[in-house]
Symmetry: C2
Subunit: 264 residues, 2 copies
């Protein structure tokens, strides 16, 4: 068995809530195993865009990144959010290092090509430098990754944070037993979106097909679960989906939804 590493993705919502974020970060800092934090951005970039009179366009949940928007997300994600997370983790005793994909060339990507939609400066990942990440982690540093990548030719690119977490998880599986945690605003995958207590504790591939066919799952959750199964297929040992506020319980299998390929 390889050494365990947690790759934990936090979404945009918690970033706007000072007390919850601070509690999450102190739990994260307390994880004794090796770990990586991947963060999104969300509201703050949209707010700054509005303040500057740059309208934000979303198509199928993805931001259309024109050059003014790229500037905003680079400032907000790789600057404001990333450095504040790092400073708070440092205060909590975790030797964090903030990185975007250009830093040490850890995540190289290419501009997304799509037959009908021009996503602008949106990046799809080509390669993750796991050796360098591993080297930083061996220095007892904890990478905090902002969802900005680059194409190796000087162009920064906006990249979905869930995808960064998934690809980092798959790539790091060569050297570690990866536990991938997607935290978001719900307590887990819900049977009924209006009932926070309807968390499905565990989903195996076979269950999932049944849940989908029987429409026993909230449609909005499907991309997240597809993402989770893709990660498992790529070598990740376990995916946990749940609420950032419940991080200790998520890691103890006491909360959230565990997505697994394990036999029951």
């Amino acid at each position: 068995m390889a050494e365990k590493i947690y790759i934990i993705k936090i979404g945009g919502n918690i970033l706007d809530e000072v007390a919850k974020l601070s509690s999450f970060l102190s739990h994260f800092a307390g994880i004794k195993e090796k770990k990586i934090l991947v963060h999104g951005g969300g509201k703050l970039a949209t707010q700054l865009g509005e303040q500057l009179g740059i309208p934000q366009q979303l198509v199928e949940g993805r931001r259309i990144t024109d050059s003014a928007t790229l500037k905003i997300v680079t400032m907000v994600y790789a600057g404001y959010i990333n450095k504040n997370l790092v400073a708070q983790l440092q205060a909590a005793g975790c030797d964090a290092i903030g990185l975007c994909g250009a830093d040490g060339n850890i995540i190289q990507a290419h501009k997304r090509l799509h037959s009908t939609i021009d996503y602008g400066f949106a990046g799809d990942i080509d390669r993750i430098d796991t050796e360098k990440l591993k080297h930083l982690i061996d220095m007892n540093l904890t990478p905090v990754i902002a969802p900005i990548t680059h194409n190796g030719k000087g162009q920064l690119l906006n990249t979905n944070a869930d995808t960064i977490a998934q690809e980092t998880g798959k790539a790091m599986s060569e050297s570690y037993d990866v536990i991938l945690v997607y935290s978001f605003e719900k307590r887990g995958v819900l049977k009924d979106i209006h009932d926070e207590d309807s968390v499905i504790a565990e989903i195996r591939q076979a269950d999932y097909e049944e849940l989908k066919t029987g429409k026993k799952i909230f449609a909005g959750m499907i991309p997240k679960i597809d993402n989770a199964f893709a990660a498992l297929k790529g070598g990740v040992k376990q995916v946990i989906i749940g609420q950032a506020e419940q991080l200790p319980q998520l890691l103890n299998n006491e909360a959230g939804t565990k997505i697994t390929n394990e036999k029951p």
Copy 2:
């Protein structure tokens, strides 16, 4: 003799000029010796502040950093400028890694205390983690340092880039022969501010006293030269002041002003 390292500070002006910056970065990337880039910010932060209706206040050349301004400089310096420099260096074949002082706790500072002026979130440096910088450099990474530090208690602080370059130079002198280069808009220290050809090629401590007493030096240059002599006193081998566009000539002693304690 210890191994040589170049610590090169680029000021705000060149950051706004695409062609000049690109030429500078390709020269910088071409330096075969170990190297660190320290950058300022300048105009871009002021512009963003204006766009957002946050007036910027400068006292004795230092920005008064209220919390709105801290947010702006964190976004612009540690986000937009830092990550664009890193992406461009990567494209030029230099394995750059962008860092602010909070990253890996490389520069810890405290909020400036002043008897009459409240500088806000301005940081004065306490400690530089040279071991960690050395470790990153030994991985063949080139640190690109943004002028944002932290206090170890979760607070980011705005810190003068000239000072970061000086303190990093002094701290790294324990392990390396440090050549510190301050680049700015002039070709070097000028006898006559209106004559770009009046560059003083070399200034030794004794000359400097004479130049100052005889008022043969432009007053605006004095803080930069004081800074240079402080660096030499702290162990830096040589300080060069000149134009970023002339980087190769500066490093070959063919341009700029060399500040030195060496006997003639």
